[in-house]
Symmetry: C2
């Protein structure tokens, strides 16, 4: 009675790490959390207050399936202000987090066997979400020595009659890299529909990120409030889609999700109108952590030929120490209390790598990496 689909979903190896880390922590051992994908900051008080007010004001019924107009407008305004692109609020659809937005994107364009091109290494959920929509992930390798930029020739070769879209993610999980403007332009010039996962926008350091909408309108933007506003648990995301797709996504939303939580949507308005202007302060804090993590990793002998400039991850070659990232991550955890994500979660070629998240305090970064250094030497 179990479908092949769910049988074939790969486990998240990091979940085993997380479980063991929690077990160790419960037993009194100090654990350093460099495995996590969520900021350690609390949700800003203004956002919480807006949610509370909206509960009081009775925003507790279904909203329109496309979302509350005020939030759709605020997102359209944000894209205008931040990137200078004109987006009608009618193309903005509010979702229950960015993952359901990705799922609806896939369901809207994929028939069974159709292909989505993803760059490899990739966010661990991409292939699974594509497989739920019965599509096929066509992986195009990107490499540390190229700064994880896309080889356009290789990308072009991977396009065939089954290709329905190219999925990009800048800043990227797990590498923390941004796509160069020129690269984004060239990707768009291939004429395919682009799905652009912009969930880490705002978390960039010394660079400016670009939305795909600066280069093409033949794109679906998927994003949300989780990372920049420390709203992971709130489940609030959105899509910006070409006008001709709105009605189809709406039908999916009506059937699968009905609507996003309305008082959470109102909190999202507050995030864009009040907190976004302070988001430079958040990025500044993350940048200090980034610098601390990079320095610490270098000081214990890790080498990397690229500098991650966004999100809160660095993808580090650890093949000097081990060629089995899962086993290595467990070794490290058991011996040092340092929790990291094995590279195998992000690529079949990922066994030479570990992902370190710096969404944690500088003290924790310094102490944890020092411990790791002692163990490795």
């Amino acid at each position: 009675m179990i479908s092949d689909l769910v049988k074939n979903i790969s486990p998240f190896y990091v979940m085993d790490i997380l479980e063991e880390a929690n077990r160790l922590e419960a037993s009194g051992k100090e654990v350093f959390h460099f495995e996590v994908g969520e900021p350690d900051f609390s949700t800003p008080a203004e956002i919480c207050a807006a949610a509370v007010k909206s509960i009081d004001d009775g925003f507790t019924k279904y909203s329109s399936s496309l979302g509350i107009e005020k939030l759709r407008n605020a997102i359209a305004d944000d894209y205008k202000r931040t990137y200078g692109v004109q987006v009608s609020h009618e193309r903005v659809i509010i979702t229950i987090g960015s993952s359901p937005a990705l799922l609806m994107s896939m369901l809207t364009i994929l028939d069974p066997g159709d292909e989505i091109i993803i760059t490899d290494p990739y966010y661990a959920c991409y292939p699974q979400i594509i497989s739920v929509a019965r599509g096929v992930s066509k992986k195009v390798a990107i490499h540390e020595e190229d700064g994880y930029q896309i080889d356009i020739k290789l990308l072009k070769k991977s396009i065939n009659s089954k290709t329905k879209a190219i999925l990009v993610n800048s800043p990227s999980n797990p590498t923390g890299t941004l796509l160069e403007k020129e690269t984004m332009q060239k990707v768009c010039d291939l004429g395919q529909l682009i799905i652009s996962d912009e969930i880490y926008h705002g978390l960039v350091y010394g660079k400016k990120e670009n939305t795909i909408l600066e280069f093409t309108d033949n794109a679906i933007v998927v994003s949300g409030f989780s990372k920049l506003y420390s709203m992971t648990g709130w489940r609030l995301g959105y899509m910006i889609v070409p006008p001709n797709l709105v009605r189809y996504v709406q039908k999916l939303q009506q059937n699968l999700f009905i609507s996003a939580n309305p008082f959470v949507q109102m909190a999202g308005v507050e995030a864009l109108e009040k907190i976004k202007i302070k988001s430079g302060d958040i990025a500044k804090l993350f940048n200090e952590r980034r610098v601390a993590m990079l320095e610490a990793l270098k000081s214990i002998g890790f080498e990397f030929s690229y500098e991650p400039m966004g999100a809160f991850y660095i993808f580090v070659n650890s093949s000097r120490f081990s060629k089995d990232s899962y086993k290595f991550a467990f070794d490290i955890l058991e011996n040092t209390g340092v929790a990291v994500t094995p590279g195998i979660d992000f690529s079949e070629r990922g066994n030479d790598y570990l992902r370190f998240s710096y969404a944690t305090s500088i003290d924790s970064i310094k102490s944890g990496i020092e411990k790791l250094g002692k163990y490795l030497s």
Copy 2:
């Protein structure tokens, strides 16, 4: 670039009615909302207060993908208290509403072309959710003259090698009927996996509803907090699954939804621990509305051979007046301000029917149906 899947999703005809109703209302016309599927009550203050407290307490990060243990325990306790069935909390999975719970149920058991048996008329989203999982809805007709009970012989005949589950919904949308205990037992005796949508539990009048778990453990329960607790917008649901399915549903949840909102989950704990004991009062109010609606409909010449005893709907044969439910619903709205749902939304055989919801005030029920009566005579 548009998938056959989304092209083939039927529209909700009631959405056109709703849009027109809103337009009329905005233009100053009085509208009677008998088309809606959500209670008009506010979410109880205690539930709102619990959410606010949990926001203050920092329940704003991802929870475990299976849900917060306290809520999983509270649901297990509720099934013990309400129905006398023993359910381990480990089989309870918290979801972002009952619709995603249904979707994950389907994805867990269906490979493309597999069949789910549904009784017809059915909740409008069922066939769509099944089609998103690339399954096929096998419809078994149920009839007003049988009190919308299931003809077990007919049901048995519809089972074949592709059948993966039988989906039941008691109390039912759109008919408001409960399955008899004996019928439930016989359905379970067929030995198929049962998916039991129990979202309207608690909203029953002069009868007691049964959970499928009283009859079999070979079942997936899908339910949520929207209806009984007036929490439609909150997006909080759950599944109770056989032990061997937990891990598969968890993998889907991790990839597609991550987790339900944690402070909303804590509000759910409050609903079960504090409001559930008062839910008889809520049911009493709905029962008064039910009686008012049935009387009013009879007084203007509608005839029905069954008495709906649950949810907040009655499915009324309107073939005396029209054999085109969509056109008829529009006629009624334009001429009287009464909004109802055309039967075609719930069955291909539904054109002879209208669904009236009584999730609205008795005054509104009386005035609205009186207006309708004047128009029809």
